[in-house]
């Protein structure tokens, strides 16, 4: 099969005017056109210029991902669309807050695993922990898998944020 037919994971960064309805526009576009969203994060990044940054993780063939980028670019309040997966290299991080309920031996094991993953305990009771763990998606997945038999009861993840490596900022000509 030619590579263009293989679905790949892409991280797309979008700089938008921080105005009401912009998130609905982006989400509506994905829903309406049947694109999938693996994760989506949004936050204001410049208060002075009213700009927000949206990071979308999606999976699709090259043709679909090109469509997604073109459709995003067509939205009126969108300034910049960057495909961090194809345009050079990038770093990505996700943060997870993970609650584990356990006692006895399992507490010790949970702390040991947390240590290996450089997770911090943000909260602890006699029978529970809340861990903060950061890293790539796979690291968070692995952490959760290991905590599962120890009493994992609740997971909260931010979704991926990502930025290109090197001295060039998003939207600048490289």
């Amino acid at each position: 099969m030619p590579t263009s037919h293989i679905a790949r994971r892409h991280i797309i960064a979008v700089i938008v005017d921080n105005e009401p309805g912009i998130l609905a526009r982006v989400v509506g576009l994905f829903a309406g056109r049947g694109y999938n969203i693996e994760s989506l994060t949004v936050a204001e990044v410049s208060h002075a210029r009213h700009l927000s940054r949206i990071t979308v993780v999606t999976t699709g063939t090259e043709m679909v991902v090109d469509q997604i980028k073109a459709q995003l670019g067509r939205l009126v309040p969108v300034h910049t669309v960057a495909d961090l997966t194809t345009e050079g290299t990038h770093v990505e991080r996700e943060l997870g807050l993970i609650k584990v309920r356990c006692t006895g031996e399992k507490r010790v094991e949970a702390l040991r695993i947390a240590d290996i993953f450089r997770a911090r305990a943000l909260d602890a009771t006699q029978e529970s922990f809340v861990f903060e763990v950061t890293g790539g998606c796979e690291k968070l997945d692995a952490f959760c898998t290991l905590m599962e038999p120890l009493g994992l009861i609740e997971v909260c993840r931010t979704g991926v944020v990502a930025i290109a490596r090197g001295p060039v900022a998003i939207g600048e000509a490289s």
Partner: protein, 596 residues
Amino acid sequence: MTTTAAAKNQADTRTMSGAEMVMTALQDQGVDVIFGYPGGAVLPIYDALFKQNFVRHILVRHEQAAVHAAEGYARSTGKVGVVLVTSGPGATNAVTGLTDALMDSIPLVCITGQVPTHLIGNDAFQECDTTGITRPCTKHNYLVKRIEDLPRVLHEAFTVARSGRPGPVVVDLPKDIQFATGEYQSLVDQPHRTYRPRTEPNLADIDRALDMIASAERPIIYGGGGIINAGPAASERLAEFVRLTGFPCTLTLMGLGAYPASDKQFLGMLGMHGTYEANLAMHHCDVMVNIGARFDDRVTGKLTSFSPNSKKIHVDIDPSSINKNVRVDLPVIGDAGRVLELMIERWKARGLKTRAQSVQLWWGQIEEWRRRNCLSYRRTDQIIKPQYAIQRLFEKSKGRETFITTEVGQHQMWAAQFFGFDKPNRWMTSGGLGTMGYGLPAAMGTQIAHPDALVVDIAGEASIMMNIQELSTLVQYRLPVKVFILNNRWMGMVRQWQELLHGGRYAESYSEALPDFVKLAEAFGCVGLRATTPADLDGVIDEMIATDRPVVVDVAVDEKENCFPMIPSGAGHHEMLLGPEDKADPVATEEGMVLV
């Protein structure tokens, strides 16, 4: 904006109410007519309308019709069409029209009233989430919650509607903002902060396209609505380029008129009901030059068998149209008119030549396909064939400034096949959405823009019922629109699909209990005429044209006639049905049945 213009605008700052800002901004944008319907949430704007003389208001009978009328106005003039409706049901009634305009890239600004800001979200009387509902069916929309934003938003709405790939824009305006007082500034031609669609093509792409064109042996030029949207000059350039190369040219339903239908190099419309020669030329070409069309599924048919051996060039102003349905070899992003201008310029400057001998052989093949005479039909003296009725209408309207709108169905396709358009902006039909009920209001808007022209809605008896109330608007404004109903007593297009694809089980497609259209016309205050035999036709059409009032013509046509050629859904261009003798391939039929 130039600094002097900015200074002038600055100096022009005036204090006024939100409602007055709406009227002033319309005036500053050069709007002379709007289509609308009043209600509680837009009363302040209607009050401001009452106090001025610049903008004329056309009172429709249903908000959907206001939007289609604005579309007809926009498409026949190239200007932005403007709509004014109230909140809640006014806005929801407009949704079909907005979607229609989005699908066909028609520039509109639709101002909707909204409940006052402090009631938004409370399920107030006639509240609806207008921006939520219209987000997927507009190019952009705004909810204005601060009077300070209103002047900018109003002018931005026009900029967004008309620039790049045009489309409808909604401005939702709460009633308290209409009453609020603020500073108005004219911001006409102010560039948008973020929205800067690319119109200027890359020159290297133009040269690459010309290299492909010069080396083509079996070329075809396939033009679409983008050429119409690029303005009349773009159509002239298309004609120049087609003549320069000597290549065959076909057009989409939306593109009709962009190249003269009467010209030898025109192969007719392509697509599902396109001509044999146009579709086969698309199928067998080696270089396809798509200018301002979007490889719509009505055009491509089955994607895997679409023009399998060609190199494809795609000129489009909207990057999201590129590689959406069909992978192309060379995308050229830019305004169709500008691209054509540069192509002509560079073709001449570089002294390029086509491969004349090969192209001549290709024409030989095309002429052979043409000799199939795919649009032929059997005429009789007893019964009016719908194709014949359109041919007569076409003949009789020659030499006049004529504008045609249509409803949706077989009559629409026959109109596209048999009415020849030699100029752009003369043909208004609902292509993308296929909205029954489009034609009459669109004709209304067209007639407003061209008061002295002959404006005809070629209609079906089922479609016309969807916005029949607009006959009343025609009478009120003395709009001499002609409604030419090809009355086959069936939802003909539905019946045709049931006949060909569903074993002749005609579920709910018969037009039972039709009104007497002549009496109906008269009840509204229009003139009603009827033709029942071919011998009646010429006289009735003459009378229709000669009548300087709105006329409804009920033409009784053959109930059983089907529209050919036809490429059934799911079939390729080479699997066309040419007439009643042809049967659809059962395998393709099964796959195609799930398609629309």
